[in-house]
Amino acid sequence: MRQSPANHIEKTAISAWRWTAVLFLIIPLILVIGSVVTYIFFSWPWWLIAITALLFVIDLVLSVIVVPMLRWRRWRYEVFEQEIYIQHGILIRSRTIIPMLRVQHVDTKQGPILKRFSLATVTVSTAATTHEIPALSDEEASDLRDRISELARVDEDDV
């Protein structure tokens, strides 16, 4: 497993992930508001605001700007006749081979954000594990799903 899989996922995935991250910014935002409120009404120390604000900025920079970019660059996949090859992970790069023979079912799914960008996620399940190829374009995802299920339709091995 020295070569990366050949195919990138859709580039609009970055925007989709950014929007998701923006939505999740609400958590540090609540912390900031909380610290401001406690400062005003309960005269908690001011540096709490500084810390939460810093957290907010760090989260903003990392999860909205940096991480989606890196994640897109790392996510790759390739489907061969007899196996599926997936690579992902920013800090820890992991490369997975799933034998076609072991694929039990393939799904596509689409959350509200992915739908806005007309993207879909392909999920490959074996009897023991589940693997994802996130954010492919709609047609590509359903094509891939059909192709994998076609390839996986070999004679059932005993177990």
Partner: protein, 492 residues
């Protein structure tokens, strides 16, 4: 053909106990608050009514449960409000086992567990309690087709390899079990701490002589009770695995064991996913181990003996290849020549254990500085542990098998067929990449969620060689950059 059969009425008891167990946990807090003062009366009345209700339900359920064997299938009807009917055809049945708990044996009954192919719990069936002869009849009736395996068993002209583990070996197994290690550890801890437990000051005072004597008494009592616990553990192992007999038939391994609870296990060989040799530290010292297998499918109603099945309670490590040769030639292999991780991966192993202890040191330093010696003393233990794990790790792949060895508590050496792997994963962080290290993580199927085997920080080349053995696409394992334009096997 036969008419519909009921289970033995003792099945009511099992049903009653089971439903009691199910609600016990939820009920306990309620009981704690109501079992006192003026509410006591109502609580007791409530409990009595509840018990009666459960009993009634158990009886009802028993009345609504019936089974028939018609022609080539087993037909089970059950359910009080929602009627369920299940037909299991003979040729789908993989194994039929008769298991007897203590209660079963008192009434001369047996439980019949029927496992089918597929790992779906809902497809399997079990008859909670029938008279033993009836159990055997069901087994005989249904066996006819199940791969003619019974005929093979009755075929006396052919000798099937079989052996029974003696009580001496079982005693040794009990004496060196994981629990025994725990107990030895406790003993050592107590012994080494005995002096610290007795406060130093007391020695100086003449009057404290009695006190220290009492403390020593306590230590003696605690030590001897530990020895007793250990002895009970040994006995328990001997009772549980009494007359452990393994027999290899054409397509199955067949095990019986137990003095009070008699158990049968039939394992179709083609459902074995991995063979694992396990040694704890104590057994490793004496060159002892046991062999177990991971089996796919066949959930026996959430029984604890699920997917991992002992093939032998105890054998010497040297005997493993010969044992596999005789009983499981499909997995017959020489002692694998495992490739160990290099010296440069040692820090990662040590770090894993060290990390937790360092956190403990920091926490204790701030919370209770006077206890700082406890986590500090744990430091060398965890470093030693990391070193042991590093010493244990190993990988070897050939065209059929993948062998991995690793340590969590005990050393486990697994042998799995390449084609049984559900997924093969290689992981590296950027430090690993710089040092040409990689972590391997393979998944196999068992009857729960599957099991992952992970070995960290191996030589990257060893992991890649293993993946190349596993994969059908050679070019992704090669070093040189491939040509993007005409990469073979690509899809658009």
């Amino acid at each position: 053909m036969m008419s519909e059969q009921r289970l033995h009425p003792a099945a009511i008891i099992f049903q009653f106990i089971r439903s009691l167990k199910d609600i016990a946990l939820g009920l306990l807090p309620v009981l704690l608050f109501t079992l006192r003062g003026e509410t006591l009366r109502y609580a007791v009345a409530g409990i009595v009514i509840l018990l009666l209700l459960l009993l009634l339900l158990a009886v009802w359920r028993w009345m609504r449960f019936s089974y028939t064997i018609t022609g080539d299938e087993l037909h089970i009807k059950q359910g009080i409000f929602i009627r369920k009917e299940r037909r299991i055809s003979k040729n789908r049945i993989q194994s039929i086992d008769l298991t007897q708990s203590l209660i079963h044996r008192l009434f001369g009954l047996t439980k019949v567990q029927i496992e089918t192919a597929g790992s779906d719990e809902n497809v399997d069936a079990s008859l909670a309690a029938v008279v033993f002869s009836e159990g055997e009849r069901v087994q005989n009736e249904l066996k006819a087709d199940y791969r003619m395996n019974m005929e093979e068993k009755e075929d006396t002209s052919k000798e099937y390899p079989s052996e029974t583990t003696g009580y001496g070996k079982l005693a040794l197994a009990g004496a060196t079990s994981d629990n025994a290690i725990l107990i030895f550890g406790l003993m050592w801890l107590l012994y080494s701490q005995a002096n610290q437990i007795i406060p130093e000051g007391t020695y100086e005072q003449a009057t404290a002589w009695v006190l220290s004597l009492a403390l020593q008494m306590i230590v003696v009592i605690v030590l001897s009770s530990i020895v007793i616990v250990w002895g009970v553990g040994v006995l328990w192992t001997m009772v549980k695995y009494a007359k452990f007999t393994i027999t290899r038939y054409e397509r199955e391994l067949y095990m019986t064991y137990g003095l009070i609870e008699k158990r049968q296990r039939t394992i179709p060989v083609h459902r074995i996913q991995a063979v694992i040799v396990k040694e704890n530290l104590l057994r490793q010292l004496f060159g002892l181990c046991y062999v177990y297998v991971e089996v796919a499918g066949g959930v026996s109603n959430g029984k604890m003996e699920g997917s991992t099945v002992h093939l032998l309670p105890l054998l010497t490590r040297q005997r493993v290849p010969a044992f596999l040769e005789t009983y499981l030639p499909e997995y017959s292999r020489e002692e694998p020549q495992l490739k160990r991780p290099p010296l440069r991966s040692l820090p990662y192993y040590v770090w894993k254990g060290l990390f937790l202890v360092l956190i403990a040191v920091v926490v204790v330093f701030y919370v209770a500085p006077s206890w700082i010696m406890v986590p500090v003393a744990a430091l060398p233990i965890f470093i030693g542990w990391g070193w042991l794990c590093w010493r244990t790790a190993g990988i070897k792949a050939d065209d059929t098998f993948l062998n991995l060895s690793f340590r969590t508590i005990g050393r486990e050496t697994i042998t799995v067929k390449q084609r049984r792997l559900q997924a093969f994963e290689k992981r590296e962080n950027w430090l690993y990449r710089r040092q040409h290290l990689a972590t391997i993580d393979v998944a196999i199927l068992n009857n729960t969620a599957g099991r992952h085997f992970t070995v960290s920080a191996l030589e990257e080349i060893d992991v890649t060689m293993a993946s190349a053995q596993f994969s059908s696409v050679p070019h992704i394992h090669e070093l040189q950059k491939r040509n993007k334009e005409n990469a073979p096997g690509d899809i658009e």
